[in-house]
Amino acid sequence: AGCGSQGTEKTQGAAGDTIKIGVNYELSGNVATYGTSCKNGILLAFEEINAKGGVLGKKIEPLVQDNKSDNAESLSVATKLVSQGIVAMIGPATTGNVMAEEPVLTDAKIPLLATAATAPQVTFDEEKNKVRDFVFRICIIDPDQALVMANFVADELKLKNGAIMVDTTNDYSKGLGENFKEYFTAKGGKIVAEEGFVSTDNAFRAQLTRIAAKKPDFIYVPAYYNQVSLIIKQARELGIDVPFMGADGWDSPELVNIAEAKSLNGCYFTNHYSVEDPSPKIQDFVKAYQKKYNVIPDAFAALGYDAGYLMAAAIEKAGEADPIKIRQALEEIEDFEGVTGKLSFDEKHNPVKEVSIIKMVDGKQQLVTKLMPRQ
């Protein structure tokens, strides 16, 4: 019965003495480490901001919800958060879960800031050929990841024949696969095998056997860590010893746990940042994060941290905790300095940022290089 009052409060969170921000993440389920890292980063940021007095004189109140790495759950969580009066939403981490909640927020005219969803369609409706007004993201996008990796493989590693293995039930994975193929063949490389799997799979030998028959120099697997790790492990068991390449989905402590360090030696993936980056801004963040959570922050923690600060900046800029005004402010943000780089949004609400290439060495991530995909 008590919940009835929330809906009547049409002016939403602003009326209270806190600013409510939705935090919808994958805290359990298949890809729980992504969401958990993002959430931790966000909460750290909000904590710091609130300690310094909050924004517009008010404290930020994050409303954290677990979407269980499930699309339908993500939608229902978003509906719930909206009815609790949030003025903006941060998350989820993965493309699919963001896409699932998007219509609810757009209908409610509440801005959505995605942290790690990298597929182009997150901010851009390809069918209607128009930008999604209320959706922003602070991460690089997949064509950039694919381009950087394709160039790196062709120019630096000088590998010719590649194989691609994607999760065909995942737009992120499928998109990256397509982009990579396009850029790699443009560079004169050859894709000798393309295989697919579905996200519920855990046996990949059939596909790997087919790939092995084509004798590629490397295998590109842009997918989430829970599957990547099994794929690499099973490949090694089948005696496939070529390097694997991938994208930000690889960044999880679980990758090494499951696949085992030696299987990963010589593999590369693209990412949003690297803990190894000596820049002081990054190292300060790493220290603070480690102090609070006792683990090394991965890229998603960094993205979450940036998202928290970016959101606060936008609210400050908007001058009022009003969703429409915050949206406007987000669009106008320029040269925001975050741990994952300097960012402004392009016309499709995407930031233009550097892509890091990470190499796996004995279970540790090593920063190989940072590249700017486009100007």
Partner: protein, 291 residues
Amino acid sequence: MQDLLQQLLNGLSLGSIYALIAVGYTMVYGIVQLINFAHGDVMMVGAYVALGAALLGLGFVPSLVLAMIVCSLLGVVIERVAYRPVRPVSRLAALTSAIGVSLFLEYAVMFVLSPKVWTYPAILKERIFRVGGIVITSKDLLVLGTTLVLVVILQYIIYRTRIGKAMRAVSFDGTAAQLMGVNVNSTVGVTFAIGSAMAAAAGLLIGLYFNTVQPLMGLMPGLKAFIAAVLGGIGSVPGAMLGGILLGMTEALVSGFGGSMYRDAVAFGILILILLIRPTGLLGKGIQEKA
């Protein structure tokens, strides 16, 4: 050709995993006439128990034995608490209860141990054999071998021992079995204990095979195992093995010919086809109803 052989072997290895779960499944299923939907989750618990044992430094065999003991107790408790009061009333109600138990195990484990994925320490030396270009791993042999052994053991128990005879009698008519001096409750209890111990063994092996242990790991294999059991003929232990291997082979071949997207559809399609031709599964005994 070599590829085809390798794919068949992949299928055999995947199939023996299905079979491994399916044999315990089908035994309980055949005798109690209950779709023990929680079987896959008992397997999951077995995998965790064995993992715990392994992390404490126990070797393969002690971990296995411990997991089997714990799970057989778990099986007995589940039967006692969730199935026994329901079974006589309605099979479908028992199914509801089983769905409840399945969810309970999954989410209780998730609550207690977090949803995170665990991996096994190296408790078994892994070896890779190459026979004329075909790769076989020691894990494949282990899984296949264990399944075979379990099938033999179960067949022996069901057809050659007193308790097996009691199980079969109970499965057909509990009251009549009582009149033959069979203790129905303890027979069903033993059935669950054995079935759950088999699940635990499967749990350890599957945990090792995929090197991952997580609370929902029983769901899909459980379903596939159930399908394998039906395919082979409900209650038939060799049928479950056959069904499992057939399912695994089909899936590997479909994937192996580039149809991985349609793999589940083809597998189900074949299942339905086989059932249409043999409505009681491959090795199931159907009796024509007498009017």
